[in-house]
């Protein structure tokens, strides 16, 4: 299998002395859909900035499809497409020109650039806006324009820095579908996001980054298996006055008269919990995870690295 991205001992210290990256190692294989997760200031955007030559690294090595970013810069950069976190358009330039120019910077001849721009704008539902300027677009349209611009030169590795931040659920879902489709068609995708359910829905692999270090990485299902305790929220038919006596193995908290929160460790089963609730005459009308499972893992990892 070809390695799409290889990062070794990546370090970055800014001019003010802040050490944003303290030695990141990351491998992404071709065709994978990987999420880079972490709190604000963890080092995600710095990592992405270095991969895309917008931030100068202090030490370490980056290879894109085997091309060293320092020694084979043009080849490495030709493989990359970037959807940045913040809008970075020339606000006076029409949509179509933005996409055509981006293709031109990557060496796509002008006539072909117009054809490709038309196709990619159509794919993202922006063809009727091709004469508009970014100022006339909604937030969701601007996000889609950034994706169109990043895809016009047909990159093998697409990197998205919080692509769905601030967009409504409908647009987010349609963007998920689009990203899943281009990933299935062969594009390797790396994204950073604060929406953990987004990472769980889209990605097969995740890497958690905090304080400039990768604190955990692996397949989503393997990481979720590592969760020792899951917290569930149960809605009861009968009103409760106090938490039912379920035993020490099921720590319980009464949120309100009809809502219970129960922590279940991997050593104990949900079946036993329901048996005990039934024996106490409590009927459960619905049940859900308190948090997304990845989110629960994320919070524990972040707590862990804070306590280190």
């Amino acid at each position: 299998m070809t390695t799409a991205l290889s990062i070794r001992n990546l370090q970055k210290t800014y001019a003010n002395g802040f050490q944003a990256l303290k030695g990141i190692d990351l491998e992404v294989e071709q065709g994978e859909f990987v999420a880079l997760l972490g709190p604000n200031g963890a080092g995600k955007s710095t990592t992405i900035g270095i991969i895309n030559s917008l931030v100068t690294k202090t030490a370490g090595q980056v290879e894109v499809f085997g091309f060293d970013l320092e020694r084979q810069r043009a080849q490495a950069k030709a493989c990359l497409g970037l959807v940045p976190q913040e809008f970075n358009f020339n606000i006076f330039e029409p949509v179509e020109e933005i996409v055509v120019n981006q293709a031109g910077y990557y060496g796509v001849p002008r006539r072909e650039a117009f054809e490709r721009a038309g196709a990619v704008l159509e794919q993202l539902g922006l063809l009727d806006k091709r004469r508009a300027t970014p100022r006339e677009l909604s937030g969701g349209m601007k996000r889609r324009l950034m994706i169109a611009r990043a895809l016009v030169h047909r990159p093998q590795l697409l990197i998205l820095d919080e692509p769905t931040a601030g967009v409504d659920i409908e647009i987010r879902r349609s963007m998920w579908e689009f990203l899943t489709r281009i990933n299935r068609e062969g594009t390797t995708v790396i994204l950073t996001t604060h929406y953990l359910e987004e990472a769980e829905a889209l990605c097969e692999k995740v890497a958690f980054i905090n304080h400039g270090r990768i604190v955990e990485r692996g397949l989503v299902r393997d990481l979720i298996d590592k969760l020792e305790v899951e917290t569930f929220v149960l809605n009861t038919r009968q009103p409760l006055r106090e938490p039912p006596p379920l035993g020490g193995e099921y720590p319980t908290r009464l949120i309100d008269a009809h809502t219970l929160e129960v922590a279940i460790s991997r050593a104990h089963s949900v079946n036993t919990l329901f048996e005990r609730l039934s024996s106490l005459g409590i009927q459960v009308s619905s049940m859900r995870n308190k948090a997304n499972r990845l989110e629960e893992l994320f919070l524990r990892l972040m707590d862990g690295s804070r306590n280190e």
């Binding site: 800014y14 900035g49 895309n52 030559s53 917008l54 931030v55 100068t56 810069r73 043009a74 080849q75 950069k77 030709a78 990359l80 970037l82 940045p84 913040e86 970075n88 358009f89 020339n90 606000i91 006076f92 330039e93 020109e97 933005i98 055509v100 120019n101 981006q102 031109g104 910077y105 990557y106 060496g107 796509v108 001849p109 002008r110 611009r149």
Partner: protein, 254 residues
Amino acid sequence: MSNRIALTTIVIREVLRFVRIWPQTLMPPVVVTSLYFVIFGNLIGSRIGRMDGFGYNEFIMPGLVMMAVITNAYSNVVSSFYSSKFHRNIEEMLISPMPNYVILLGYVIGGVARGLMVGVLVMIVALFFTDLRVEHPWITVTILLLTAALFSVAGFINAIFAKSFDDISIVPTFVLAPLTYLGGVFYSIDILSPFWRQISFGNPILYMVNGFRYGILGVSDIDILPAMALILFLLLLMSGVALRLLERGTGIRS
């Protein structure tokens, strides 16, 4: 091939940019030059008499053209490149595979294109006030191109260091304008005292204005070859500086 396409893309984008906003970019120098011709050339110039053997309108014409070329080449690049930094769409180019020299060359050609377009427009205006004859066409064109390129590079360097829109107007106002006005646009340095004449030789714009005047009228306060050599030297020096700054990522990469 890829780099040529990237270069063409930047040039087309730059030309479209200043053509799209022509009332801000192409019209002002035409209006200002017309006023110079009317006030300095016709009204005051008729009392000044001849200079270096030419009517005053005829004498100031090359300097006015050169002044417009210098100002517009500089301001085109400084405002366009700084705007790209400000709106962060410079990232579109920085993430692409094109080398830094292509970025610099693209902006410089854009600046030269605007400088030349404005120069031609000013010459057309000049035809209403004086007869235009070009004594040395090749020297005229060479000086025009070298000067426009030099000030385009200078504008690029200014934009690299600029942190606000104020920073892109400081050099044109406090450096470029005084040097241009004192660069022999409106007078021959022969009318100055020896002391001020010597001081004037330290002004690089004097060489450009006089070089261009030599191309148009066939007269100059200075030798044409050293003038051309100086402009070429400054162009190469500043291009080297601009490329080095781009390579280091000064003002554009963190």
